[in-house]
Amino acid sequence: MSLLTLSGVAGGYGDVDIVTGINMHVDAREIVTIAGTNGAGKSTLIKAVMGYLPRLSGRIEFDGHDLRSLSTEKRAGIGISYVPQVRNIFSTLTVLENLQVVEKVADSRKRIAEMFDMFPALASRRRTQAGNLSGGERQQLAFARALMSSPRLILLDEPSAALSPALTELVFAEVRKLPATGAAVLMVEQRARQALAFSDRGYILDSGKIVLTDTGSALLANEKMAELYLGSKPVEPVQAS
């Protein structure tokens, strides 16, 4: 049985549905990537799982729970964590407090130390108000905050945006390690080529509908689709001289 299942999900913010007819699933210890054009509804879909959409129909199940009957904090409580695309940190809290604030962490101190090991830039700025962090530093903090609670499913909305290549690599490497810790990952990425390369499966979204789904490598191999949604193959910027 899948860890997360969406069946016939439709929803939006006002009168019109932003996403419609979504059937999608994430198995335990799986990495799933969602890609698609801007405004396709990727973030909307993730928000639906987290319980932020004012209007929603269809079924969303997580580990046997009917998610729609749970509040956002309950969803967090049963092991879902989330990195939003925007406003993903508490900007008036310090870096340290951003991590401390996560509920239900077994050994908070140890976990925070692990996060600071992972992102040394954060460690050196632990007493800074998070709102003053740089774009990339925020992104690291948001990612670290989501990892704090050792979730079973982690929802990432463009975790690599604003990250330098080195940090993108670092974050992706961490994502790859997650299944081993028992977590599944559902992420939205614009750097989809990079992400799909290590994803088990992928979905491509356009105008609120799933237009294609397959394993990560198969999607990358589908030249036509890739051209349409993933951009041309990157030319390596630097040839090692």
Binding site: N38, G135, G136, E158, A162, E169, G231
Partner: protein
């Protein structure tokens, strides 16, 4: 001849130094990239140049004028403007109106002219509307032209932010990560557009982490690390610089 010249610029927040002794020269009509580790101080540098923070020392000259005493608006009037890394849309205005708000010197912004020369105001509006429409087409935002900008997706907001700046048509544009969160297909189109702008004589300075797209786009790069410029030159040279590779790419590539 250099249009923007930044000399020995530093900014501090209490004990923390955001950047220190930065020198940047942008020739008129040049197209330049600025890369750097996260937290290197790039966005803060932009803020200092455009007037959102006061640097602790140094000099910013634009077109021969000393910029530091000027307010943000005055700097924009002189032709220097920027986008924000975190988009700042007019959330309750429609996407179309967001674009219409940008162009400078609109007659209809003056109460007097509104009543004395209504005809001129109307003509100008019509012209601007045309430009805004084609901008919407270009940014793939035509579909959402009439929705309030606050309900755009993250990527769409970035595009709108860029579009608004393009409507402003300043002589020097500073873009803060214009490609982050933008679909790769569109990134290619945006790059194209940036080249066109540059060919029309507009000077650009672009912060970007998408090195592949950036190095294809710009002939010259600055690299920053921990508040200092550590390299400058052709992209291939800069990216080959061991210090840059060490700091920026962690030797990953």
């Amino acid at each position: 001849m250099s249009l923007l010249s930044v000399k020995n610029l530093s900014a501090r927040f209490g004990a923390f130094t955001a950047f220190d002794g930065v020198d940047i020269e942008l020739a008129k009509g040049s197209l330049t990239g600025l890369i750097g580790t996260n937290g290197a101080g790039k966005s803060t540098l932009f803020s200092a140049i455009t007037g959102y923070i006061t640097p602790s020392s140094g000099e910013v000259k634009f077109d021969g004028h000393d910029m530091l005493p000027l307010s943000i608006e005055k700097r924009v009037e002189k032709g220097l403007s920027r986008t924000f890394q975190v988009p700042r849309e007019f959330s309750r205005l429609s996407v179309f109106q967001n674009l219409m708000a940008a162009p400078p010197n609109q007659a209809g912004e003056s109460l007097a002219k509104l009543f004395i020369t209504p005809g001129r105001v109307r003509r100008q509006e019509a012209e601007l509307a045309e430009r805004a429409d084609s901008m919407l087409q270009f940014l793939n935002l035509a579909r959402v032209a009439d929705t309030p900008a606050g309900s755009l997706s993250g990527g769409q907001k970035k595009l709108l932010e860029l579009g608004r700046l393009l409507m402003l048509e300043p002589s020097c544009i500073m873009l803060d990560e214009p490609f982050a969160g933008v679909n790769p297909v569109l990134v290619e189109e945006l790059s194209q557009r940036i080249v066109e702008l540059n060919q029309r004589g507009i000077t650009l300075l672009i912060i970007e982490h998408d090195l592949a797209s950036l190095s294809r786009l710009v002939p010259r790069l600055y690299a920053m690390d921990r508040g200092r410029i550590i390299a400058e030159g052709k992209p291939s040279e800069v990216l080959a610089d061991p210090r840059v590779r060490e700091a920026y790419m962690g030797g990953v590539i």
